[in-house]
Amino acid sequence: MTLPKQVLQALAGIVGSQSIRVSRTALETYASDGLPTHHRRPGAVVLPDGRDQVVRIVEVLAHHGVPFVARGAGTGLSGGALAGPDAVVIVLTRLNRIIAIDPSNRHATVEPGVVNVHLSEAAAPHGLHYAPDPSSQTVCTIGGNVAENAGGPHCLKYGVTSNHILELEVVLPNGEVATLGSRGGEPWGPDLVGLFVGSEGMFGIATRITVRLTPIPRQIQTLLADFSSVRAAGEAVSSIIASGLLPSALEMLDRACVAAVEASIYAAGYPTDAEAVLLVDVDGRDAGAVQAEAHDVETILREHGARTVRMATEESQRARLWQGRKKAFGALGRISPDLIVQDAVVPRSALPDVLERIADIAATYRVKVSNVFHAGDGNLHPNINFDRRNRDEFRRVEAASAAIMSACIDAGGSITGEHGVGIDKLRYMPLMFDGDTLAAMRATRRAFDPEELSNPGKVVPVHACREWSAARSLRRAEVVA
């Protein structure tokens, strides 16, 4: 343990001795997130029960120059919520109150530890829900969703987290509290809400979040189409999007993923002899309109070679089909000791080519890759099953991951669509951004956090940043003087 004793005493004085963890065993719980390839044990963990405790904790840490990392449910997939032995993890799961639901204004105010799906359940009696639905929505928290700008299958129609955050109360890294945005959604000054969402905990800690709520669609039809080639399925996706139809979700699973799902307790009845299946949701207020749009989608699917198209309108049928998709990562987790869930985005039209390239990469590096992803957004999730105890295999997995990222960037894509950079993708950032743009990102972070205490070492690879102008201009002024 490298944290000063007086810091630990001060923290215990704020949260009470029952809400601070310092033993090696207890800290191990917080040494990983949902990505198994990174492991860092923090110096201490504190579990505040409200905003005021968060403020006092941050003030103490800022005073002593101790880095800190905010953490929600720990379901992140980029190592973003990991902290080293010189840092303190601030766990926000006890800040879990739904403060208000305002149906007339279609918004709700919550604390960051509220579980995503719990908010939708609470809003449901008003005919509303919180639309972003990451696969981990039954456990992940709204605060974590804000930090990562989380997505989900239905973001195709309804948008990602940043489209749904109206106002944020944040504790800045010096302990100061600021309110960004407004409950109506109009910025109060520059769009600092938009800047804060997705900043991966490096600008401060959100302690109160006002989110937009969306009417629950009254009618939903789910279509399952299967194809004899991934390319045909990918081309069907592009045609649906270009047609002017806007499904609420458009997901693809490849053969390997279907096999894993169908061999698990999450079996959804997907055809195991298909090379790819598409799962499509069409929703709206009116049954006739939804049926007409579903028919149009079916026509396009068949025109692109779908072998069969099944429609599910009953909730139980739909739930079964979606269970297979939402629990696919769990099903994949059964077939090897370790699983990497990768995340990248490519232009939709590049999907067929990139998927073929990923298959080539898997063959080259002799790794097991399966794909389950948000096809309508071009947001890929290549999953790699492996056993980290096999060092040779682990090296090949790492090399294959890097090759997949390069392939996506070459196709005009991005290294992450919803999982964030964290520490896992730091090394790829220079492939996407030049030194000036990276320096601008770091300088922006320093406007919020001059001492770089909040979640240090994530997102921006400092070594790749060029010198930034504000610092340069200061030195120039000194020379002139």
Partner: protein, 406 residues
């Protein structure tokens, strides 16, 4: 203000070369319009080093080019629609592209950018830098929701590329959001990546006239029924050129969806609706866009949906009933008219007490300088805004009044 001996003009001509466009503004300020981001960077780097103040302009049809500066940097030379990728619903356009030219270029490819900002012949850069959304924000969101990334040149000449051409992207901090709606305070936007939509299959407009509060009630009833129209816009008598207030509803989507929503709107409220022909609907919404520029000043007031009545009352009390529009689904009131800085400041202070931000969208420089586009923000936010401005414009090269003097 221009350099009396013409030295700035000579330096600029050398920088932009024979292909660069140079003119002189009405106030004698040299106006330079490079045709590349690199050209813009050269100009800004030189200006920053020399201590010249720079004002950024688009077509000059929204905010007048009247800020005090040694030179004007215009997006006029950046007029290319670089790429429209219909299959991916993405376009990359330079910031000087005129909104009408953009609409035509996109329509040729079967695509559409769902932004109907007020003003006429505005450049894309102006729309993004000022984040002025129109009635469609009720259904499609604000400008920020239709951007995938942009290229910006900072005040001292760094060229920064944010975002990209993909539908989702969380690599790095979202500096596109910071640049959008910051009135150019963080740099000169040279190009943007747009998120497009296919041209709608069906597009219907319904209107009705009544007293203001009755129409606000009708709008709330539509929302309470779970309907989210693409536009749900309330117009004052002056804005609607009628004796009474007007409520305009725009429904966009597939044929079946639009017909179903038309029936749902009729069932949700008691109003007697007039269904406009395509041509009349186009005229109706164009008038809404253009009336905002008939006066010198335009402001917007943000509020929650149930606060719209109070927000309009505040505007009517402190200003006048010139041109008022309200996006009911988005909780935004827009006023266009003429008012003194003192009156606007009083409105802003009163509105702040009820948590309603007031943004000066356009006004003559003396008023912008006095009030600032945003004025003083909340505790904590002012410090952040100042730090961010210093980060991106350490020499205070860009004459943009975010906070104002009051």
């Amino acid at each position: 203000m221009s350099s009396s001996d013409g030295s700035i003009e000579r330096r600029l001509r050398a920088l932009v070369g024979p292909d660069g466009q140079m003119t002189t503004d009405d106030d004698g300020t040299p106006n330079v319009a490079p045709s590349t981001a690199t050209g813009c960077a050269l100009v800004l780097r030189t200006a920053s080093a020399e201590g010249w103040r720079v004002r950024i302009v688009g077509n000059g049809s929204w905010i007048p080019p009247d800020a005090p500066a040694e030179l004007t940097l215009s997006s006029r030379g950046l007029g290319q629609v670089e790429d429209v990728h219909a299959a991916d619903l993405v376009a990359t356009v330079q910031s000087g592209v005129d909104q009408h030219a953009l609409r035509e270029a996109l329509a040729d490819r079967g695509t559409w950018w769902p932004v109907d900002a007020p003003g006429d012949r505005r450049s894309v850069g102006s729309l993004v830098a000022t984040a002025t959304a129109g009635p469609l924000r009720s259904g499609f969101g604000n400008i920020r929701d239709h951007l995938l990334g942009l290229t910006i040149v900072t005040a001292d000449g760094h060229i920064l590329n944010y975002g990209g051409r993909v539908a989702k992207n969380v690599a790095g901090f979202d500096l596109t959001k910071l640049a959008t709606g910051s009135f150019g305070a963080f740099g000169f936007i040279s190009s943007v990546h747009l998120r497009l939509r296919p041209i709608p299959r069906a597009d219907a407009t319904l209107t009705t006239n009544d007293r203001r509060d009755a129409l606000l009630g009708q709008g709330q009833a539509i929302l309470d029924a779970g309907i989210t129209p693409s536009a749900l816009e309330l117009l004052s008598p002056v804005a609607g050129s009628t004796d009474d207030w007007t409520l305009g509803v725009r429904l966009i989507g597939s044929d079946a969806t639009v017909e179903a929503e038309r029936a749902a709107v009729a069932a949700a409220c008691t109003a007697r609706w007039t269904s406009l022909s395509s041509r009349n609907a186009a005229d109706f919404w164009r008038d809404v866009q253009q009336r905002a520029t008939q006066h010198a000043t335009t402001i917007r007031v943000g509020c929650v949906i149930t606060g719209l009545r109070q927000a309009i009352n505040l505007v009517l009390h402190h200003l006048d009933d010139a041109t008022i529009t309200a996006s009911i689904g988005a909780g935004v009131v827009r006023w266009s008219g003429s008012a003194s800085a003192a009156r606007l400041q009083l409105l802003r202070r009163t509105a702040a007490q009820v948590e309603m931000p007031v943004t000066i969208e356009r006004a003559p420089w003396p008023l912008r300088n006095e009030l600032g586009h945003f004025g003083l923000c909340r505790e904590g936010v002012n410090r952040l805004m100042g730090s961010l401005r210093h980060t991106f414009d350490p020499q205070s090269t860009l004459t943009v009044a975010l906070a104002g003097r009051q």
